[in-house]
Amino acid sequence: DAGITQSPRHKVTETGTPVTLRCHQTENHRYMYWYRQDPGHGLRLIHYSYGVKDTDKGEVSDGYSVSRSKTEDFLLTLESATSSQTSVYFCAISESETSGVSSDTQYFGPGTRLTVL
């Protein structure tokens, strides 16, 4: 199994509070991703990173920001949590690339269940 941990694993918070989720990898992989999983939608990409301090938006990035100051850590921040951000959040990593973009299998962390009341 890929060495990926997520913290916290569960969190309950209130609307309007800031929340930061952490993804930590021990594989030294270049690419890291944040997804959210909601019933009926599968997983949807929030943000991704292709190196330290290099990040880009996914399809559902509104209300989220990310940071990557070290290869092993990728943080997802909800600046002001809303009930619509209640979800399960997954981090993923991948390594191989073709022509500068990731083209390899993504391996997932265990997920974080976030509830915003």
Binding site: G42, Y48, A92, S102
Partner: protein, 115 residues
């Protein structure tokens, strides 16, 4: 826009029998990968099998195999000799080379295995 569609929200199979899960996708890209992931009740996303679009040969991993029909944009998963541990949600996913390795997921198929 790229899409992945799994038209079977739920499937059921008898233990030791064979079941096929369907997936269709749409993309204008020529270079991509296709995956099947399994998500058991533990919620962990587990890679089942992977197919490179440029390869004509269908991928196989033990009891799991795919039927990749590129022209039809179809990517079905066959599970042979089904086991109780195969019960899970299965997701089909499309990875695009030229979009940062973005994975696009289908909605999932819930597979139950009857003893």
């Amino acid at each position: 826009a790229q899409t992945v569609t799994q038209s079977q929200p739920e499937m059921s199979v008898q233990e030791a029998e064979t079941v096929t899960l369907s997936c269709t996708y749409d993309t204008s890209e020529s270079d991509y990968y296709l995956f099947w992931y399994k998500q058991p009740p533990s919620r962990q996303m587990i890679l089942v099998i992977r197919q490179e679009a440029y390869k004509q040969q269908n991928a196989t991993e033990n009891r799991f195999s795919v039927n990749f029909q590129k022209a039809a944009k179809s990517f079905s998963l066959k599970i042979s000799d089904s086991q109780l541990g195969d019960a899970a949600m299965y997701f089909c996913a499309l990875l695009l080379y030229n979009q940062g390795g973005k994975l696009i997921f289908g909605q999932g198929t819930e597979l139950s295995v009857k003893p």
